[in-house]
């Protein structure tokens, strides 16, 4: 399933531009959730951890793979929950909704 290196590099560069484009639209207000959301996304390294552990045969690889999987899972799960928790706090008006007294 080998992909030519040049194609992978092309994908990498395009993803970089896409990332800059999308992320420059994020308002300063949401930069902390952006960062924890980015935390969550780099948890995708869990795919690598699963591949390593899933194909591991000797004790060394199993140990390393297991450690990687624990770290990556904590990254994915923690990153997602904390982002969700934060974003849930951003409200237009506190509940119950009321009008500005003027």
């Amino acid at each position: 399933m080998s992909v030519p290196l040049v194609i992978e590099l092309t994908i990498l560069v395009l993803a970089g531009f896409l990332g800059f484009e999308v992320i420059s639209k994020v308002p300063t207000m949401l930069h902390t959730p952006l960062m924890s959301g980015a935390n969550f996304i780099h948890g995708i390294v869990i795919v690598g951890a699963i591949l390593v552990l899933g194909h591991a045969e000797d004790a060394f690889t199993k140990t390393v793979g297991l450690a990687a999987l624990v770290l990556a899972t904590a990254n994915v799960v923690g990153g997602w929950f904390v982002t969700d928790r934060m974003l849930g706090m951003f409200k237009r008006r506190p509940e119950p909704p009321r009008e500005r007294s003027e």
Binding site: F20, L30, L34, M35, H42, I44, L53, L66, T73, E102
Partner: protein, 461 residues
């Protein structure tokens, strides 16, 4: 069991689309939470697909790993206080980088064809992942105040750092040249870990927002490098998205401090400052203390009040009381706005999260560039636990270490009230000229207690 590359390729593409959509939804607080769900769905697709790939085994270990990681992640995310968000992000940067380095280590151990492309990727993944892991650990320790937030420096630091990094690079080149001894990568990881520690140690606490952003970018790039090792486009793209996010935030943070990234990283900021504040300036100006009752009258009869919250407010857990005070003033017809400096708090956007947690509607939160033109029309600027970001020396005193940093123009308001524990200088260790300004009065004491006294006094007006 999925064995067709087209099938799992397409499933991974679904993940990529979900991640991009998640980031797009973050452009407004209204849809951002939905976006996170989309991202979560994308991640589940990726995990499910990988588990279903042909040839995956070790199911018991897999279950154990996922179970432990899930418990740690959920408990951490549920219990972390919003003031501790920067530490949390530092930990997640660290574990992500650590996972990338471990994957590289395992791939090196089992490499069938040392040398060539794959080894380059293994070396990069191990190197960047390890730096991110160790650097994040130090950043965490500094933010958690396990070690001093002040820069820790030793002679010839930059030289030693460079040598360590060159050593790691030399081992990397050795590996790429085809030497397949196991110790080569162990040595590389060891040196990279050492470099990660030494590179964050000399960076002062005030610069942590830049460092966390940078480590965030590193972890993304480490994930991307892992993608090259495993020929996985989903890792390459997702890692790079994070790399872009981290880079962008690093540049924005550095810009908000009007410093170059290199200066933040290698400048050992603020180390020459002396602790202790001036009671009296050389020209005889003094700091004026005030009482809650006086401030309450000022606030209650103002037309417009701009609240400038800083990390001191968050430390005192005064956000909820500040919001109550603001509500009370609004009921009296006072216009209340919050001025948020880009580096208020300990990470990008931190203050907004802290205020959102206290139910302050986000429509009242204003960025520096939006609010600065409004200070001249404000009757009172109420500074709560903010220090360096209000220091006029940044505009006027070229000898100040923060000279040139964009600040909130608090001193342009008709009057300024500063709630502060004592005259101790702020996180950056610099004295604040603002406190000697004749229109500034200081209300000393714990931020929370002071705000509670203000609430009582405003009610009595």
């Amino acid at each position: 069991m999925i064995s067709d590359p087209d099938v799992f390729g397409l499933l991974y593409l679904v993940t990529i689309v979900c991640f991009v959509v998640a980031l797009k939804f973050l452009s407004s607080p209204r849809h951002a939470r939905k976006g996170n769900w989309v991202g979560g769905a994308g991640m589940l697709v990726a995990i499910g697909t990988t588990l279903a790939l042909e040839g995956i085994s070790n199911w018991a270990l897999m279950a154990v790993g996922i179970a432990i990681g899930t418990v740690v992640g959920v408990v951490g995310a549920r219990t972390v206080r919003m003031t501790a968000m920067p530490q949390m992000v530092a930990i997640f940067n660290g574990v992500g980088g650590g996972a990338a380095a471990l994957v590289a280590l395992a791939e090196w151990h089992n490499a069938v064809d040392p040398g060539g492309d794959e080894t380059v990727s293994i070396v990069l993944s191990a190197l960047i992942g390890s730096i991110s892991f160790a650097g994040s650990a130090v950043a965490f320790a500094k933010l958690q105040e396990l070690v001093s937030g002040r820069p820790i420096v030793f002679p010839a630091q930059n030289v030693v750092d460079t040598l360590v990094l060159l050593g790691a690079a030399a081992l990397g080149v050795t590996a790429i040249a085809g030497v397949e001894e196991q110790w080569v990568l162990y040595g590389l990881i060891g040196l990279a870990l050492l470099f990660g520690v030494m590179f964050v140690l000399p960076i002062g606490g005030a610069d942590m927002p830049v460092v966390i952003s940078l480590l965030n970018a590193f972890t993304g790039l480490a994930a991307s490098a892992t993608g090259f090792v495993l020929d996985s486009t989903v890792l390459i793209v997702s890692g790079m998205l994070v790399g872009a996010a981290g880079t962008l935030l690093t540049l924005l943070m550095a810009k908000a401090m009007n410093r170059s990234v290199a200066n933040v990283l290698f400048g050992a900021f603020g180390q020459l400052q002396v602790a202790g504040g001036p009671e009296r300036a050389d020209d005889g100006r003094t700091v004026r203390a005030t009482t809650p009752e006086d401030v309450a009258v000022q606030l209650a009869y103002a037309r417009k009040v701009i609240i400038v919250p800083g990390y001191g407010m968050a430390v005192a857990q005064a956000q909820h009381d500040v919001r109550q005070l603001a509500d009370l003033l609004e009921q009296r017809g006072v216009e209340v706005k919050y001025a948020i400096h880009p580096v208020a708090g300990r990470m990008p956007g931190h203050m907004n999260v802290l205020l959102a947690e206290a139910n302050v509607p986000y429509t009242q939160l204003f960025e520096m560039d939006e609010i600065n033109p409004e200070f001249p029309q404000a009757d009172v600027a109420l500074v709560i636990g903010a220090n360096d970001v209000t220091n006029p020396a940044a505009r006027s005193d070229p000898s100040s270490p923060i000279y040139g940093m964009p600040i909130l123009d608090v001193d342009k308001a008709a009057s300024v009230v500063v709630l502060k524990r004592s005259l101790r200088p702020g996180f950056a260790g610099i004295d604040n000229e603002l406190y000697l300004d004749p229109k500034t009065t200081m209300l000393f004491g714990d931020a929370k207690e002071s705000v509670l006294k203000l609430i009582a006094a405003v009610k009595a007006v």
